[in-house]
């Protein structure tokens, strides 16, 4: 038994087995857990108790910021800093300002969605202890993994290992720190 570990990783063959095991892990009271799969599985969110992300609110805020930036920029340029009449239109010609405002809304919202997702996910993170398990390379191909971290208050070197073995896992691995 290795003392210096990050947690235990169990391998499964199918998404159904993974979701069933995740439910049991959650019911057993573990909280510092994670699952790994080669494609998104929606049932896992509820099985592991993953909270709904705040990302949509951030994206909305990003979009509103873009809209206001577009409005403020064009007001500054055409009303405040360099007022000049073009085509007989008023300084503040809102209908003409709508396309740039719209595009900036989209641009800021898209940036927030992508970089918000990446940063909330804690990426880029080239190293993570789970990569120390050689079989984990299959998590991006065909296998499903369930992790219980050592940080978990309920974690016990022996008991947790026995518990994970009882989940119909193919194999349980020590994840080196």
């Amino acid at each position: 038994m290795n003392d210096n570990i990050y947690g235990y990783l169990a391998e499964f063959d199918t998404p159904t087995q993974l979701v069933e095991a995740a439910r049991k892990v959650r019911l057993a009271g573990y909280t510092k857990t994670d699952a790994f799969s080669p494609f998104p599985i929606h049932e896992i969110d509820e099985a592991l108790g993953i909270k709904r992300s705040i990302l949509p609110f951030l994206v909305f805020a990003g979009g509103v910021t873009g809209l206001l930036t577009g409005l403020a920029l064009q007001w500054f340029v055409h009303v405040f800093d360099y007022p000049i009449i073009v085509g007989g239109r008023p300084y503040f010609s809102l209908p003409s300002f709508i396309p740039p405002m719209f595009e900036l809304t989209i641009l800021f919202a898209a940036f927030t969605a992508v970089f918000g997702m990446i940063l909330l996910n804690g990426l880029p993170k080239p190293y993570h202890p789970v990569f120390n398990v050689p079989r984990f390379a299959l998590a991006t191909r065909e296998k499903f993994f369930l992790l219980i971290e050592r940080q978990d208050p309920k974690f016990d070197l022996q008991e947790t290992r026995n518990f994970m073995q009882s989940l119909n896992a193919q194999e349980v691995f020590d994840v080196d720190e």
């Binding site: 494609f39 592991l48 396309p99 595009e103 991006t140």
Partner: protein, 486 residues
């Protein structure tokens, strides 16, 4: 029972053919990049495309040294090949966004295996499109003047001009398309990273994948971000071609000043784009052995989309004629007369009707829709037709404007052609590089299409009602299979 199954199969045709597992899907698609010998055909195709791209390089160098006088543009035809090709390329790009965003929101499974290279096509087409207005400025090294930044000249761009809107629309479109494409690639690049044996490839894919490990928490945010991106790309793609059409319709020139332009341009863009997707994916599925993922069903669906959008475009042509007559404005009436039968470019108009209006009528028939040869052939014809459409709109409207004293003919010079053909070479060069180094089909999304990807709810009825979160990837397949089991 048998009948129900048959109807189900017609309603939800399988999107992956053959007997596949997660591993086999992964291997087939990623081995193309990692393991299989690069086919000789790739080298030949790449070399040809790269050679053609040199004519772009040559023209651009000559153009920058000499000035845009080397083109055939004159007065009154101040806009010609540069804007025709710009609109043509950007329209082609729109199918990629339509496939990746709009079809995702509409839960169309068949987008899954074609979205990756359709998005790549979008990016490369936008890159080609952007070259034309950039070089048409005459001093491309000062193109940053188009962006609003505080400068020592104390000047600002003119935001009331559609050309300024165009700058914002196209640069936003290029940026968002790149982000969308990259986000879709992250999990697949992680797959390549884990499967690559070559040290350098492993490092590069490792950097690009940012340490993606397929964590459930990450997938959760990933799917939200992907769905939101699709949600904001949908109005974006419609806005981009609307704004491109404003370049014309906000002007007062007869033939340009029409309210039907935005929807008519958007439909035309999607029409041209699907033609290009078909041109690319019919050879790709054969040469790269992807028949199981890009099935006949995909091709038939694309043929149907082409027919539908083509008919909208034909409606646009009919409305242009009707408006010309109904406006009772002598300039509008003259424009139609000049365009359709009285002017020197009348045969362009009829060639356009032949390419875009008549050729697609074949797609009403199953025989043509199901034949790869005919789909490919019609797509080529449509691509030519859509180019002619922009020629008709731009050149025939400009060359006979309000003042007969300023009328003139337009003919392209050899540099107009070498630049246009050069961008086609550039486009295919980028595509060849793409199919060599990145997975051409979204691997993780194809995995979700397999029956094995379904979580069996059977033993957990009590949890069923908690699983009602909007589900971008799996829902309708679930339904189809649920119904089949019953």
């Amino acid at each position: 029972m048998q009948e129900v199954k048959k109807i189900q199969k017609n309603l939800h045709p399988p999107m992956v053919e053959g007997d596949h597992s997660f591993a086999s899907v992964t291997d087939i698609i990623s081995d193309r990049t990692l393991k299989k010998r690069t086919p000789y055909g790739w080298f030949i195709g790449f070399a040809l495309a790269f050679m053609v791209a040199q004519s772009l390089l040559f023209t651009v160098v000559y153009l920058v040294i000499t000035g845009i006088g080397i083109w055939g543009n004159n007065q009154p035809v101040g806009w010609a090949f540069d804007i025709i090709n710009f609109v043509w390329w950007i329209g082609i790009g729109h199918a990629g966004t339509l496939i990746s965003a709009i079809l995702l929101l509409m839960n169309q499974k068949w987008r899954t295996s074609i979205n990756r290279f359709a998005e790549a096509m979008t990016l490369f087409a936008v890159a080609c499109a952007g070259l034309f207005p950039l070089l048409h400025t005459g001093r491309p090294w000062l193109a940053y003047w188009l962006f609003p930044y505080p400068n020592t000249m104390g000047m600002w761009p003119q935001f009331r001009s559609p050309l300024m809107w165009d700058v914002f629309a196209v640069s936003t479109y290029a940026t968002v398309s790149l982000l969308f494409w990259y986000v879709g690639l992250i999990p697949d690049i992680a797959t390549l990273r884990d499967r690559a044996k070559n040290k350098y490839f492993k490092t590069v894919y490792g950097l690009l994948s940012m340490g993606w490990r397929g964590s459930a928490k990450h997938w959760h945010r990933y799917e939200i971000a992907y769905l939101l991106l699709a949600g904001i790309s949908t109005p974006l793609v419609l806005s981009v071609h609307s704004i491109v059409s404003f370049d014309f319709s906000v002007a007062q020139l007869p033939g340009w000043h029409a309210t039907i332009f935005p929807p008519y341009f958007v439909a035309g863009a999607i029409f041209a784009g699907f033609a290009m997707v078909l041109i690319l994916c019919i050879p790709l599925r054969h040469w790269y052995g992807m028949e199981d993922f890009i099935t006949k069903t995909h091709l038939i669906f694309m043929g149907k989309v082409m027919l539908a959008t083509g008919l909208i475009v034909v409606y646009g042509y009919a409305m242009e004629g009707f408006f010309g007559w109904y406006s009772a404005n002598e300039f509008e009436v003259f424009m139609i007369y000049n365009r359709v039968w009285g002017g020197p470019y009348w045969w362009f108009y009829w060639l356009l009707i032949l390419c875009n209006g008549l050729s697609i009528q074949l797609l009403w028939f199953k025989r043509f829709r199901e034949s790869e040869f005919w789909l490919f052939f019609i797509s080529i014809i449509v691509s030519i037709g859509m180019w002619l459409e922009r020629f008709v709109i731009i050149v025939t409207s400009l060359h006979r404007d309000f003042l007969p004293s300023s009328w003139a003919m337009y003919s392209p010079t050899v540099f107009d052609w070498s630049m246009f053909i050069g961008t086609i070479g550039f486009f295919f060069t980028l595509l060849f590089l793409f199919v060599r180094f990145l997975p051409v089909i979204s691997i993780f999304e194809v995995r979700t299409l397999l029956p094995d990807a379904q979580v069996n709810h059977g033993h957990h009825g009590a949890h069923g009602e908690l699983n009602d979160r909007p589900n971008a990837f799996n829902e309708s397949i679930n339904d189809a299979q649920g119904a089949e089991e019953k």
